[in-house]
Symmetry: C2
Subunit: 291 residues, 2 copies
Protein backbone atom coordinates (compact mmCIF):
# COMPACT_ATOMS: atom_id res chain seq x y z
CA UNK A 1 0.00 0.00 0.00
CA UNK A 2 2.54 2.47 -1.23
CA UNK A 3 -0.08 5.10 -1.94
CA UNK A 4 -2.31 4.88 1.11
CA UNK A 5 -0.71 7.05 3.73
CA UNK A 6 -1.67 6.85 7.37
CA UNK A 7 -4.24 4.17 6.74
CA UNK A 8 -7.33 4.31 8.93
CA UNK A 9 -9.75 1.50 8.21
CA UNK A 10 -13.50 1.91 8.54
CA UNK A 11 -15.59 -1.25 8.84
CA UNK A 12 -19.34 -1.41 8.37
CA UNK A 13 -21.28 -4.56 9.21
CA UNK A 14 -20.00 -6.50 12.17
CA UNK A 15 -22.16 -9.62 11.96
CA UNK A 16 -20.64 -13.06 12.47
CA UNK A 17 -18.38 -12.79 9.43
CA UNK A 18 -17.67 -9.06 9.65
CA UNK A 19 -16.59 -9.30 13.30
CA UNK A 20 -14.00 -11.95 12.52
CA UNK A 21 -12.74 -10.06 9.48
CA UNK A 22 -12.49 -6.72 11.32
CA UNK A 23 -10.76 -8.51 14.18
CA UNK A 24 -7.93 -9.57 11.86
CA UNK A 25 -7.39 -5.96 10.76
CA UNK A 26 -7.30 -4.76 14.35
CA UNK A 27 -4.85 -7.50 15.25
CA UNK A 28 -2.61 -6.44 12.36
CA UNK A 29 -2.34 -3.02 14.01
CA UNK A 30 -4.63 -0.87 11.88
CA UNK A 31 -6.63 1.90 13.54
CA UNK A 32 -10.23 0.71 13.10
CA UNK A 33 -13.50 2.65 13.15
CA UNK A 34 -16.65 0.56 13.14
CA UNK A 35 -20.31 1.14 12.41
CA UNK A 36 -23.08 -1.40 12.39
CA UNK A 37 -26.86 -1.18 12.70
CA UNK A 38 -27.00 -2.79 16.15
CA UNK A 39 -24.19 -1.37 18.27
CA UNK A 40 -24.10 -4.43 20.56
CA UNK A 41 -22.78 -6.46 17.64
CA UNK A 42 -19.68 -4.24 17.65
CA UNK A 43 -19.01 -4.54 21.40
CA UNK A 44 -16.23 -7.11 21.21
CA UNK A 45 -14.38 -5.01 18.62
CA UNK A 46 -14.84 -1.84 20.68
CA UNK A 47 -13.41 -3.66 23.70
CA UNK A 48 -10.38 -4.57 21.62
CA UNK A 49 -9.76 -0.93 20.76
CA UNK A 50 -11.93 -0.09 17.78
CA UNK A 51 -13.55 3.34 17.67
CA UNK A 52 -17.31 3.70 17.21
CA UNK A 53 -18.92 5.83 14.50
CA UNK A 54 -22.53 6.97 14.81
CA UNK A 55 -23.24 6.88 11.06
CA UNK A 56 -21.55 5.81 7.81
CA UNK A 57 -21.11 9.55 7.18
CA UNK A 58 -19.22 9.96 10.45
CA UNK A 59 -17.03 6.99 9.56
CA UNK A 60 -16.46 8.22 5.99
CA UNK A 61 -14.99 11.45 7.26
CA UNK A 62 -12.32 9.68 9.32
CA UNK A 63 -11.32 6.55 7.40
CA UNK A 64 -9.50 6.31 4.08
CA UNK A 65 -10.09 2.58 3.48
CA UNK A 66 -13.67 1.46 4.16
CA UNK A 67 -14.82 -2.15 4.11
CA UNK A 68 -18.49 -3.11 4.12
CA UNK A 69 -20.17 -6.47 4.58
CA UNK A 70 -23.86 -6.01 5.24
CA UNK A 71 -27.01 -8.02 4.53
CA UNK A 72 -28.88 -7.34 1.33
CA UNK A 73 -28.36 -5.19 -1.77
CA UNK A 74 -30.76 -2.55 -0.38
CA UNK A 75 -28.52 -2.29 2.70
CA UNK A 76 -25.52 -1.80 0.42
CA UNK A 77 -27.43 0.87 -1.49
CA UNK A 78 -28.28 2.75 1.69
CA UNK A 79 -24.77 2.53 3.15
CA UNK A 80 -23.13 3.70 -0.09
CA UNK A 81 -25.64 6.02 -1.71
CA UNK A 82 -28.02 7.12 1.06
CA UNK A 83 -28.08 10.62 2.52
CA UNK A 84 -25.71 9.59 5.32
CA UNK A 85 -23.89 7.21 3.01
CA UNK A 86 -20.27 6.72 2.10
CA UNK A 87 -20.19 8.26 -1.35
CA UNK A 88 -22.06 11.51 -0.68
CA UNK A 89 -19.89 12.02 2.40
CA UNK A 90 -16.63 10.38 1.40
CA UNK A 91 -13.25 12.03 0.96
CA UNK A 92 -11.44 11.98 -2.35
CA UNK A 93 -9.10 8.99 -2.86
CA UNK A 94 -10.85 6.90 -0.23
CA UNK A 95 -10.95 3.18 -1.05
CA UNK A 96 -14.41 1.60 -0.65
CA UNK A 97 -14.47 -2.19 -0.63
CA UNK A 98 -17.87 -3.89 -0.60
CA UNK A 99 -17.54 -7.50 0.50
CA UNK A 100 -21.29 -8.12 0.71
CA UNK A 101 -22.69 -10.55 -1.87
CA UNK A 102 -24.74 -8.01 -3.80
CA UNK A 103 -25.83 -7.27 -7.36
CA UNK A 104 -23.25 -6.73 -10.10
CA UNK A 105 -25.40 -3.89 -11.43
CA UNK A 106 -25.32 -2.08 -8.09
CA UNK A 107 -21.55 -2.60 -7.89
CA UNK A 108 -21.20 -0.92 -11.30
CA UNK A 109 -23.42 1.97 -10.24
CA UNK A 110 -21.47 2.45 -7.00
CA UNK A 111 -18.22 2.42 -8.96
CA UNK A 112 -19.48 5.11 -11.32
CA UNK A 113 -20.89 7.36 -8.62
CA UNK A 114 -17.71 6.93 -6.59
CA UNK A 115 -15.50 7.68 -9.58
CA UNK A 116 -17.35 10.93 -10.23
CA UNK A 117 -16.28 12.04 -6.75
CA UNK A 118 -12.69 10.78 -7.04
CA UNK A 119 -13.43 7.82 -4.75
CA UNK A 120 -12.14 4.32 -5.57
CA UNK A 121 -14.74 1.53 -5.33
CA UNK A 122 -14.02 -2.20 -5.40
CA UNK A 123 -16.51 -5.07 -5.22
CA UNK A 124 -14.97 -7.98 -3.38
CA UNK A 125 -17.50 -10.58 -2.22
CA UNK A 126 -16.23 -13.64 -0.43
CA UNK A 127 -16.85 -17.32 -0.02
CA UNK A 128 -15.74 -19.55 2.81
CA UNK A 129 -18.37 -18.72 5.41
CA UNK A 130 -18.01 -18.17 9.15
CA UNK A 131 -15.07 -20.53 9.43
CA UNK A 132 -13.22 -18.99 6.49
CA UNK A 133 -13.73 -15.55 8.04
CA UNK A 134 -12.56 -16.73 11.45
CA UNK A 135 -9.45 -18.44 10.10
CA UNK A 136 -8.66 -15.68 7.57
CA UNK A 137 -9.00 -18.21 4.76
CA UNK A 138 -11.73 -16.53 2.72
CA UNK A 139 -11.84 -16.67 -1.05
CA UNK A 140 -12.11 -13.06 -2.27
CA UNK A 141 -13.30 -12.27 -5.81
CA UNK A 142 -12.58 -8.70 -6.80
CA UNK A 143 -13.88 -6.26 -9.41
CA UNK A 144 -12.96 -2.61 -10.08
CA UNK A 145 -9.80 -0.95 -11.30
CA UNK A 146 -6.83 -3.30 -11.12
CA UNK A 147 -4.54 -0.58 -9.70
CA UNK A 148 -7.01 0.01 -6.87
CA UNK A 149 -7.20 -3.73 -6.22
CA UNK A 150 -3.39 -3.97 -6.10
CA UNK A 151 -3.31 -1.13 -3.62
CA UNK A 152 -5.70 -2.73 -1.10
CA UNK A 153 -4.61 -6.32 -1.67
CA UNK A 154 -2.37 -6.35 1.45
CA UNK A 155 -5.46 -5.52 3.54
CA UNK A 156 -7.51 -8.24 1.81
CA UNK A 157 -4.70 -10.69 2.51
CA UNK A 158 -5.31 -10.25 6.23
CA UNK A 159 -8.78 -11.77 5.72
CA UNK A 160 -8.40 -14.27 2.89
CA UNK A 161 -6.13 -16.60 1.00
CA UNK A 162 -7.43 -17.08 -2.51
CA UNK A 163 -7.70 -13.47 -3.68
CA UNK A 164 -8.22 -13.04 -7.41
CA UNK A 165 -8.82 -9.91 -9.48
CA UNK A 166 -11.60 -10.71 -11.93
CA UNK A 167 -12.05 -7.53 -13.99
CA UNK A 168 -13.92 -4.22 -14.06
CA UNK A 169 -16.54 -3.11 -11.52
CA UNK A 170 -19.15 -5.82 -10.91
CA UNK A 171 -16.80 -8.65 -11.90
CA UNK A 172 -16.30 -9.72 -8.28
CA UNK A 173 -20.06 -9.98 -7.84
CA UNK A 174 -20.47 -11.79 -11.15
CA UNK A 175 -17.80 -14.29 -10.09
CA UNK A 176 -19.62 -14.87 -6.81
CA UNK A 177 -22.76 -15.56 -8.84
CA UNK A 178 -20.86 -18.21 -10.84
CA UNK A 179 -19.93 -19.76 -7.51
CA UNK A 180 -23.54 -19.80 -6.29
CA UNK A 181 -24.84 -21.09 -9.64
CA UNK A 182 -22.44 -24.05 -9.51
CA UNK A 183 -23.45 -24.80 -5.91
CA UNK A 184 -27.20 -24.52 -6.56
CA UNK A 185 -27.56 -27.40 -9.00
CA UNK A 186 -24.97 -29.50 -7.23
CA UNK A 187 -27.01 -29.29 -4.02
CA UNK A 188 -29.92 -30.89 -5.89
CA UNK A 189 -27.68 -33.72 -7.11
CA UNK A 190 -26.15 -34.32 -3.69
CA UNK A 191 -29.54 -34.40 -1.94
CA UNK A 192 -31.07 -36.58 -4.63
CA UNK A 193 -28.20 -39.07 -4.40
CA UNK A 194 -28.55 -39.38 -0.62
CA UNK A 195 -32.32 -39.75 -0.79
CA UNK A 196 -31.95 -42.39 -3.52
CA UNK A 197 -29.39 -44.27 -1.42
CA UNK A 198 -31.76 -44.38 1.53
CA UNK A 199 -34.80 -45.40 -0.53
CA UNK A 200 -32.74 -48.17 -2.15
CA UNK A 201 -31.91 -49.54 1.30
CA UNK A 202 -28.22 -48.65 1.10
CA UNK A 203 -26.15 -47.23 3.94
CA UNK A 204 -25.58 -43.65 2.70
CA UNK A 205 -22.34 -43.27 4.66
CA UNK A 206 -20.98 -46.39 2.99
CA UNK A 207 -22.14 -45.03 -0.37
CA UNK A 208 -20.19 -41.83 0.29
CA UNK A 209 -17.05 -43.94 0.67
CA UNK A 210 -17.57 -45.18 -2.88
CA UNK A 211 -18.61 -41.96 -4.59
CA UNK A 212 -16.94 -39.02 -2.79
CA UNK A 213 -13.47 -39.45 -4.23
CA UNK A 214 -14.40 -39.92 -7.91
CA UNK A 215 -16.20 -38.08 -10.68
CA UNK A 216 -19.23 -37.41 -8.44
CA UNK A 217 -17.00 -35.82 -5.81
CA UNK A 218 -17.60 -32.26 -4.64
CA UNK A 219 -17.17 -30.03 -1.61
CA UNK A 220 -20.91 -30.34 -0.95
CA UNK A 221 -20.87 -34.13 -1.19
CA UNK A 222 -17.94 -34.36 1.24
CA UNK A 223 -19.09 -31.67 3.67
CA UNK A 224 -22.88 -31.43 3.50
CA UNK A 225 -24.06 -34.94 2.55
CA UNK A 226 -22.74 -36.38 5.85
CA UNK A 227 -24.81 -33.75 7.71
CA UNK A 228 -27.91 -34.80 5.76
CA UNK A 229 -27.42 -38.43 6.74
CA UNK A 230 -26.99 -37.43 10.40
CA UNK A 231 -30.08 -35.17 10.36
CA UNK A 232 -27.91 -32.13 11.15
CA UNK A 233 -29.51 -29.12 9.50
CA UNK A 234 -27.72 -26.40 11.49
CA UNK A 235 -26.80 -23.48 9.27
CA UNK A 236 -23.30 -23.27 7.84
CA UNK A 237 -24.94 -21.17 5.18
CA UNK A 238 -28.58 -20.10 5.68
CA UNK A 239 -31.22 -21.05 3.13
CA UNK A 240 -32.59 -17.48 3.29
CA UNK A 241 -29.21 -16.06 2.27
CA UNK A 242 -28.78 -18.59 -0.48
CA UNK A 243 -32.19 -17.63 -1.86
CA UNK A 244 -31.09 -13.98 -1.83
CA UNK A 245 -28.00 -14.88 -3.85
CA UNK A 246 -29.94 -17.06 -6.29
CA UNK A 247 -32.41 -14.23 -6.86
CA UNK A 248 -29.55 -11.90 -7.76
CA UNK A 249 -28.11 -14.45 -10.17
CA UNK A 250 -31.53 -15.07 -11.73
CA UNK A 251 -32.09 -11.33 -12.29
CA UNK A 252 -28.65 -10.86 -13.83
CA UNK A 253 -29.07 -13.91 -16.05
CA UNK A 254 -32.45 -12.66 -17.22
CA UNK A 255 -30.92 -9.26 -17.99
CA UNK A 256 -28.28 -11.05 -20.09
CA UNK A 257 -30.95 -13.16 -21.85
CA UNK A 258 -29.55 -16.39 -20.47
CA UNK A 259 -31.53 -19.57 -19.69
CA UNK A 260 -31.00 -20.93 -16.17
CA UNK A 261 -32.68 -24.35 -15.96
CA UNK A 262 -30.61 -25.58 -13.00
CA UNK A 263 -30.60 -22.36 -11.02
CA UNK A 264 -34.34 -21.84 -11.58
CA UNK A 265 -35.08 -25.34 -10.34
CA UNK A 266 -32.87 -24.94 -7.25
CA UNK A 267 -34.42 -21.57 -6.44
CA UNK A 268 -37.93 -23.07 -6.73
CA UNK A 269 -37.04 -25.99 -4.45
CA UNK A 270 -35.38 -23.79 -1.82
CA UNK A 271 -38.24 -21.27 -1.95
CA UNK A 272 -40.69 -24.10 -1.20
CA UNK A 273 -38.59 -25.17 1.77
CA UNK A 274 -38.39 -21.58 3.04
CA UNK A 275 -42.18 -21.33 2.85
CA UNK A 276 -42.36 -24.47 4.98
CA UNK A 277 -40.27 -22.75 7.66
CA UNK A 278 -36.76 -23.88 6.72
CA UNK A 279 -35.35 -20.45 5.86
CA UNK A 280 -33.06 -20.48 8.89
CA UNK A 281 -31.80 -23.99 8.24
CA UNK A 282 -28.52 -24.68 6.47
CA UNK A 283 -28.54 -25.31 2.73
CA UNK A 284 -28.13 -29.06 3.35
CA UNK A 285 -31.81 -29.04 4.46
CA UNK A 286 -32.62 -29.35 0.74
CA UNK A 287 -32.66 -33.04 1.69
CA UNK A 288 -36.00 -32.33 3.40
CA UNK A 289 -37.56 -31.46 0.05
CA UNK A 290 -38.16 -35.19 -0.37
CA UNK A 291 -39.91 -35.64 3.00
CA UNK B 1 -9.02 -66.49 -2.39
CA UNK B 2 -8.72 -69.42 -0.04
CA UNK B 3 -11.72 -71.18 -1.51
CA UNK B 4 -11.19 -70.75 -5.21
CA UNK B 5 -8.87 -73.51 -6.28
CA UNK B 6 -7.06 -73.46 -9.60
CA UNK B 7 -8.59 -70.16 -10.60
CA UNK B 8 -9.31 -69.75 -14.29
CA UNK B 9 -10.75 -66.36 -15.10
CA UNK B 10 -13.24 -65.81 -17.90
CA UNK B 11 -13.68 -62.30 -19.22
CA UNK B 12 -16.59 -61.14 -21.38
CA UNK B 13 -16.57 -57.71 -22.99
CA UNK B 14 -13.16 -56.50 -24.13
CA UNK B 15 -14.01 -52.94 -25.12
CA UNK B 16 -11.72 -50.04 -24.15
CA UNK B 17 -12.25 -50.57 -20.43
CA UNK B 18 -12.58 -54.35 -20.46
CA UNK B 19 -9.32 -54.78 -22.41
CA UNK B 20 -7.35 -52.79 -19.83
CA UNK B 21 -9.00 -54.62 -16.95
CA UNK B 22 -8.46 -58.09 -18.44
CA UNK B 23 -4.86 -57.11 -19.22
CA UNK B 24 -4.17 -56.56 -15.52
CA UNK B 25 -5.47 -60.05 -14.71
CA UNK B 26 -3.31 -61.62 -17.40
CA UNK B 27 -0.28 -59.71 -16.15
CA UNK B 28 -0.93 -60.99 -12.63
CA UNK B 29 -0.52 -64.51 -13.99
CA UNK B 30 -4.12 -65.77 -14.15
CA UNK B 31 -5.12 -68.10 -16.96
CA UNK B 32 -7.62 -66.02 -18.94
CA UNK B 33 -10.35 -67.05 -21.36
CA UNK B 34 -12.04 -64.23 -23.26
CA UNK B 35 -15.22 -63.79 -25.22
CA UNK B 36 -16.50 -60.64 -26.82
CA UNK B 37 -18.97 -59.93 -29.62
CA UNK B 38 -16.35 -58.72 -32.11
CA UNK B 39 -13.34 -61.02 -31.90
CA UNK B 40 -10.94 -58.35 -33.24
CA UNK B 41 -11.44 -56.42 -30.00
CA UNK B 42 -9.86 -59.34 -28.14
CA UNK B 43 -6.80 -59.64 -30.43
CA UNK B 44 -4.34 -57.84 -28.18
CA UNK B 45 -5.33 -60.04 -25.24
CA UNK B 46 -5.09 -63.21 -27.36
CA UNK B 47 -1.60 -62.15 -28.45
CA UNK B 48 -0.65 -61.83 -24.80
CA UNK B 49 -1.74 -65.39 -24.12
CA UNK B 50 -5.47 -65.31 -23.43
CA UNK B 51 -7.55 -68.18 -24.77
CA UNK B 52 -10.56 -67.52 -27.01
CA UNK B 53 -14.06 -68.86 -26.26
CA UNK B 54 -16.67 -69.09 -29.03
CA UNK B 55 -19.63 -68.42 -26.75
CA UNK B 56 -20.36 -67.47 -23.12
CA UNK B 57 -21.44 -71.11 -22.72
CA UNK B 58 -18.05 -72.34 -23.91
CA UNK B 59 -16.34 -69.93 -21.50
CA UNK B 60 -18.64 -70.88 -18.61
CA UNK B 61 -17.61 -74.48 -18.89
CA UNK B 62 -13.91 -73.69 -18.45
CA UNK B 63 -13.68 -70.72 -16.06
CA UNK B 64 -14.56 -70.60 -12.36
CA UNK B 65 -14.43 -66.80 -11.97
CA UNK B 66 -16.18 -64.90 -14.75
CA UNK B 67 -16.08 -61.13 -15.15
CA UNK B 68 -18.40 -59.28 -17.52
CA UNK B 69 -18.38 -55.68 -18.67
CA UNK B 70 -20.64 -55.25 -21.67
CA UNK B 71 -22.78 -52.42 -23.05
CA UNK B 72 -26.40 -52.27 -22.04
CA UNK B 73 -28.66 -54.15 -19.61
CA UNK B 74 -30.08 -56.21 -22.49
CA UNK B 75 -26.54 -57.36 -23.26
CA UNK B 76 -26.10 -58.35 -19.63
CA UNK B 77 -29.39 -60.22 -19.75
CA UNK B 78 -28.34 -62.16 -22.85
CA UNK B 79 -24.86 -63.00 -21.53
CA UNK B 80 -26.19 -64.20 -18.17
CA UNK B 81 -29.62 -65.61 -18.88
CA UNK B 82 -29.73 -66.38 -22.62
CA UNK B 83 -29.70 -69.89 -24.05
CA UNK B 84 -25.92 -69.79 -24.44
CA UNK B 85 -25.55 -67.71 -21.30
CA UNK B 86 -23.50 -68.06 -18.15
CA UNK B 87 -26.16 -69.20 -15.71
CA UNK B 88 -27.87 -71.91 -17.76
CA UNK B 89 -24.43 -73.27 -18.63
CA UNK B 90 -22.39 -72.41 -15.56
CA UNK B 91 -20.73 -74.81 -13.13
CA UNK B 92 -21.67 -74.90 -9.49
CA UNK B 93 -19.62 -72.58 -7.26
CA UNK B 94 -18.54 -70.39 -10.16
CA UNK B 95 -18.19 -66.67 -9.27
CA UNK B 96 -19.93 -64.34 -11.73
CA UNK B 97 -18.99 -60.67 -11.42
CA UNK B 98 -20.90 -58.18 -13.57
CA UNK B 99 -19.01 -54.89 -13.80
CA UNK B 100 -21.32 -53.37 -16.41
CA UNK B 101 -23.40 -50.41 -15.22
CA UNK B 102 -26.77 -52.12 -15.42
CA UNK B 103 -30.09 -52.18 -13.60
CA UNK B 104 -30.27 -53.08 -9.91
CA UNK B 105 -33.38 -55.13 -10.63
CA UNK B 106 -31.57 -57.23 -13.21
CA UNK B 107 -28.68 -57.71 -10.77
CA UNK B 108 -31.14 -59.05 -8.20
CA UNK B 109 -32.72 -61.38 -10.74
CA UNK B 110 -29.32 -62.68 -11.85
CA UNK B 111 -28.35 -63.26 -8.23
CA UNK B 112 -31.51 -65.30 -7.59
CA UNK B 113 -31.27 -67.40 -10.74
CA UNK B 114 -27.58 -68.00 -10.06
CA UNK B 115 -28.22 -68.96 -6.46
CA UNK B 116 -30.80 -71.52 -7.54
CA UNK B 117 -28.02 -73.23 -9.47
CA UNK B 118 -25.39 -72.93 -6.74
CA UNK B 119 -23.60 -70.14 -8.65
CA UNK B 120 -22.34 -67.00 -6.84
CA UNK B 121 -23.27 -63.69 -8.49
CA UNK B 122 -21.85 -60.28 -7.61
CA UNK B 123 -22.75 -56.90 -9.15
CA UNK B 124 -19.68 -54.67 -9.18
CA UNK B 125 -20.00 -51.64 -11.48
CA UNK B 126 -17.11 -49.23 -11.67
CA UNK B 127 -16.34 -45.57 -12.03
CA UNK B 128 -13.09 -44.01 -13.15
CA UNK B 129 -13.40 -44.40 -16.91
CA UNK B 130 -10.80 -45.44 -19.47
CA UNK B 131 -7.96 -43.94 -17.48
CA UNK B 132 -9.02 -45.56 -14.22
CA UNK B 133 -9.23 -48.92 -16.02
CA UNK B 134 -5.82 -48.46 -17.65
CA UNK B 135 -4.13 -47.45 -14.40
CA UNK B 136 -5.97 -50.05 -12.26
CA UNK B 137 -7.44 -47.23 -10.20
CA UNK B 138 -11.14 -47.93 -10.67
CA UNK B 139 -13.70 -47.37 -7.96
CA UNK B 140 -15.63 -50.64 -7.61
CA UNK B 141 -19.02 -50.72 -5.87
CA UNK B 142 -20.12 -54.22 -5.00
CA UNK B 143 -23.37 -55.97 -4.18
CA UNK B 144 -24.13 -59.62 -3.42
CA UNK B 145 -23.17 -61.93 -0.56
CA UNK B 146 -20.36 -60.44 1.52
CA UNK B 147 -18.54 -63.77 1.75
CA UNK B 148 -18.50 -64.01 -2.05
CA UNK B 149 -17.24 -60.44 -2.29
CA UNK B 150 -14.45 -61.19 0.19
CA UNK B 151 -13.46 -64.20 -1.86
CA UNK B 152 -13.03 -62.34 -5.15
CA UNK B 153 -11.72 -59.09 -3.66
CA UNK B 154 -8.07 -59.96 -4.45
CA UNK B 155 -9.04 -60.19 -8.12
CA UNK B 156 -10.93 -56.88 -7.97
CA UNK B 157 -7.87 -55.30 -6.38
CA UNK B 158 -5.92 -55.99 -9.56
CA UNK B 159 -8.27 -53.57 -11.36
CA UNK B 160 -9.27 -50.96 -8.79
CA UNK B 161 -8.34 -49.09 -5.65
CA UNK B 162 -11.49 -47.94 -3.91
CA UNK B 163 -13.39 -51.21 -3.57
CA UNK B 164 -16.36 -51.11 -1.21
CA UNK B 165 -18.96 -53.76 -0.39
CA UNK B 166 -22.34 -52.01 -0.38
CA UNK B 167 -24.84 -54.73 0.54
CA UNK B 168 -27.04 -57.45 -0.99
CA UNK B 169 -27.47 -58.11 -4.72
CA UNK B 170 -28.18 -54.89 -6.65
CA UNK B 171 -26.46 -52.67 -4.08
CA UNK B 172 -23.43 -52.15 -6.30
CA UNK B 173 -25.69 -50.99 -9.12
CA UNK B 174 -27.72 -48.79 -6.78
CA UNK B 175 -24.50 -47.17 -5.54
CA UNK B 176 -23.43 -46.50 -9.11
CA UNK B 177 -26.81 -44.83 -9.64
CA UNK B 178 -26.13 -42.55 -6.64
CA UNK B 179 -22.86 -41.63 -8.33
CA UNK B 180 -24.56 -40.80 -11.64
CA UNK B 181 -27.38 -38.88 -9.91
CA UNK B 182 -24.87 -36.64 -8.11
CA UNK B 183 -22.98 -36.04 -11.36
CA UNK B 184 -26.11 -35.30 -13.41
CA UNK B 185 -27.26 -32.18 -11.57
CA UNK B 186 -23.73 -30.99 -10.94
CA UNK B 187 -23.05 -31.00 -14.68
CA UNK B 188 -25.94 -28.54 -15.09
CA UNK B 189 -24.48 -26.25 -12.42
CA UNK B 190 -20.96 -26.42 -13.84
CA UNK B 191 -22.14 -25.66 -17.39
CA UNK B 192 -24.46 -22.90 -16.22
CA UNK B 193 -21.67 -21.25 -14.20
CA UNK B 194 -19.30 -21.24 -17.19
CA UNK B 195 -21.97 -19.91 -19.57
CA UNK B 196 -22.86 -17.19 -17.04
CA UNK B 197 -19.18 -16.23 -16.69
CA UNK B 198 -18.83 -15.82 -20.44
CA UNK B 199 -22.08 -13.87 -20.83
CA UNK B 200 -21.02 -11.57 -18.00
CA UNK B 201 -17.79 -10.79 -19.82
CA UNK B 202 -15.58 -12.58 -17.30
CA UNK B 203 -12.60 -14.75 -18.17
CA UNK B 204 -13.92 -18.23 -17.23
CA UNK B 205 -10.45 -19.60 -16.56
CA UNK B 206 -9.84 -16.79 -14.11
CA UNK B 207 -13.24 -17.47 -12.53
CA UNK B 208 -12.25 -21.11 -12.04
CA UNK B 209 -9.26 -19.91 -9.99
CA UNK B 210 -11.70 -18.24 -7.62
CA UNK B 211 -14.37 -20.91 -7.38
CA UNK B 212 -12.74 -24.33 -7.90
CA UNK B 213 -11.17 -24.67 -4.47
CA UNK B 214 -14.15 -23.59 -2.33
CA UNK B 215 -17.74 -24.63 -1.69
CA UNK B 216 -18.53 -24.74 -5.42
CA UNK B 217 -15.63 -27.09 -6.03
CA UNK B 218 -16.15 -30.48 -7.63
CA UNK B 219 -14.40 -33.03 -9.81
CA UNK B 220 -16.48 -31.86 -12.76
CA UNK B 221 -15.65 -28.18 -12.17
CA UNK B 222 -11.92 -28.96 -11.99
CA UNK B 223 -11.77 -31.49 -14.81
CA UNK B 224 -14.59 -30.76 -17.25
CA UNK B 225 -15.18 -26.98 -17.00
CA UNK B 226 -11.67 -26.25 -18.40
CA UNK B 227 -12.53 -28.45 -21.40
CA UNK B 228 -15.75 -26.46 -21.94
CA UNK B 229 -13.83 -23.18 -21.98
CA UNK B 230 -11.33 -24.62 -24.48
CA UNK B 231 -14.08 -26.01 -26.74
CA UNK B 232 -12.82 -29.57 -26.17
CA UNK B 233 -15.82 -31.89 -26.32
CA UNK B 234 -13.94 -35.16 -26.87
CA UNK B 235 -15.52 -37.99 -24.88
CA UNK B 236 -14.06 -38.93 -21.53
CA UNK B 237 -17.53 -40.27 -20.87
CA UNK B 238 -20.00 -40.42 -23.78
CA UNK B 239 -23.31 -38.58 -23.57
CA UNK B 240 -25.07 -41.68 -24.97
CA UNK B 241 -23.74 -43.82 -22.11
CA UNK B 242 -24.65 -41.19 -19.53
CA UNK B 243 -28.20 -41.12 -20.90
CA UNK B 244 -28.34 -44.92 -20.56
CA UNK B 245 -27.29 -44.64 -16.91
CA UNK B 246 -29.73 -41.81 -16.19
CA UNK B 247 -32.56 -43.84 -17.70
CA UNK B 248 -31.75 -46.73 -15.36
CA UNK B 249 -31.72 -44.38 -12.36
CA UNK B 250 -34.99 -42.77 -13.45
CA UNK B 251 -36.70 -46.16 -13.78
CA UNK B 252 -35.45 -47.35 -10.40
CA UNK B 253 -36.47 -44.07 -8.73
CA UNK B 254 -39.91 -44.32 -10.26
CA UNK B 255 -40.21 -47.88 -9.03
CA UNK B 256 -39.33 -46.62 -5.52
CA UNK B 257 -41.83 -43.75 -5.81
CA UNK B 258 -39.11 -41.13 -5.56
CA UNK B 259 -39.16 -37.64 -7.15
CA UNK B 260 -36.09 -36.82 -9.25
CA UNK B 261 -36.27 -33.13 -10.19
CA UNK B 262 -32.53 -32.74 -10.85
CA UNK B 263 -32.01 -36.05 -12.62
CA UNK B 264 -35.13 -35.55 -14.76
CA UNK B 265 -33.93 -32.12 -15.83
CA UNK B 266 -30.42 -33.37 -16.65
CA UNK B 267 -31.82 -36.30 -18.63
CA UNK B 268 -34.07 -33.96 -20.61
CA UNK B 269 -31.20 -31.59 -21.41
CA UNK B 270 -28.83 -34.38 -22.45
CA UNK B 271 -31.55 -36.07 -24.52
CA UNK B 272 -32.07 -32.81 -26.44
CA UNK B 273 -28.33 -32.61 -27.12
CA UNK B 274 -28.24 -36.24 -28.25
CA UNK B 275 -31.07 -35.51 -30.68
CA UNK B 276 -28.98 -32.66 -32.06
CA UNK B 277 -26.17 -35.11 -32.82
CA UNK B 278 -24.06 -34.82 -29.66
CA UNK B 279 -24.51 -38.39 -28.42
CA UNK B 280 -20.89 -39.24 -29.11
CA UNK B 281 -19.55 -36.11 -27.43
CA UNK B 282 -18.27 -36.09 -23.87
CA UNK B 283 -20.62 -35.12 -21.07
CA UNK B 284 -18.98 -31.67 -20.88
CA UNK B 285 -20.81 -30.87 -24.14
CA UNK B 286 -23.79 -30.01 -21.94
CA UNK B 287 -22.23 -26.55 -22.29
CA UNK B 288 -23.60 -26.53 -25.86
CA UNK B 289 -27.16 -26.65 -24.53
CA UNK B 290 -26.91 -22.84 -24.24
CA UNK B 291 -25.78 -22.33 -27.85
Amino acid sequence: MKNIENTVIGFIGTGVMGSSMAGHLLKAGYPLIVYTRSKEKAESLLEKGAEWAETPKDLAQKANVIITIVGYPHDVEEVYLGENGLIPNGKQDTYLIDMTTSTPSLAERIFQEAEAKGIRAIDAPVSGGDIGAKEARLTIMAGGKEEDFDEVKPILELMGQNIVYQGPAGSGQHTKMCNQIAIASNMIGVSEAIVYAEKAGLNPEQVLKSISAGAAGSWSLSNLAPRMTKGDFEPGFYIKHFIKDMNIALEEAERMGMMTPGLSLAKKMYAELAEKGEENSGTQALYKYWQ
